[in-house]
């Protein structure tokens, strides 16, 4: 049996914290083990906060879980923004040389099995999935 979550939010609106809490509660109710849900929540925070910073207009989140696989689709109608086009940070540098920031999309790539970006109908669409 599958479970599905769908919400929309005005990007940049102060509703991000509530949306994050709502997704967390939904993953728990959908039976995702806490340690796995924690990894997924990191990814949702990276993706949604990125859009709030770079986007405009409205963002929508759809999450489906079936056969222990989570697939999330995040769409926003802000300006074109491909988060996957960012350079991977050098995580071998020592403390003095590490830049503050730039790690978000690196975490998304590493914590998910698949991540794909497309610009479709004047919207940014990011799809990511993870078997847990």
């Amino acid at each position: 049996m599958g479970a599905r979550f769908e919400r929309s939010l005005a990007a940049g609106a102060p509703g991000l914290s509530a949306l994050i809490a709502e997704i967390e509660a939904w993953l728990d109710a959908a039976g995702v083990p806490p340690a796995q849900a924690a990894r997924m929540m990191i990814v949702f925070d990276e993706v949604l906060s990125n859009i709030s910073k770079h986007g405009g207009g409205t963002l929508s989140v759809a999450i489906a879980i079936a056969d222990r696989r989570l697939t999330a689709t995040v769409v926003d109608d802000g300006p074109p923004f491909d988060p996957l086009a960012r350079e991977t940070p050098d995580t071998d540098l020592d403390i003095d040389d590490r830049a503050i920031g730039g790690l978000g999309i690196h975490l998304v790539r590493q914590l998910m099995d698949d991540v794909a970006y497309a610009r479709v109908d004047d919207r940014n669409r990011l799809i990511f999935s993870k078997t847990f």
């Binding site: 995580t91 403390i95 503050i100």
Partner: protein, 110 residues
């Protein structure tokens, strides 16, 4: 997120509880950089933290840089599995001193 502070055996222990993400990291940023400047030894206890996103990593890195610049010590403890994985992915496991619990952290500072 809840943040509490207490002094123990000459170290300042900052305990955080709750997620450290884009919506809460500012609360830690309001405390940590100042404390690592003021105190020679700071322990950040993350045992009540289920996960840390890049916004939280950013604040921890600011703290580590601040401590190093002041010649002070910063030790992190109570790292949950998802937090440990993020530390590994981001290379933070190599640049932070991480101890299993507050007792071990205090001992390492002794």
């Amino acid at each position: 997120m809840d943040i509490s502070e207490n002094s123990r055996d000459g170290a300042l222990v900052i305990s955080a509880a709750g997620r450290i993400d884009s919506t809460t990291a500012g609360e830690l940023e309001a405390v940590l950089p100042a404390r690592v400047r003021e105190h020679g030894a700071v322990v950040v206890d993350l045992s009540g933290v289920p996960y840390v996103s890049s916004a939280g990593l950013r604040v921890l890195l600011i703290g580590a840089k601040g401590a190093k610049a002041a010649g002070h010590r910063l030790v992190i403890t109570g790292v949950a599995p998802a937090v440990h994985e993020v530390f590994d992915i981001s290379g933070f496991s190599k640049i932070f001193t991480i101890e299993p619990d507050v007792d071990a952290a205090i001992a390492s500072l002794g």
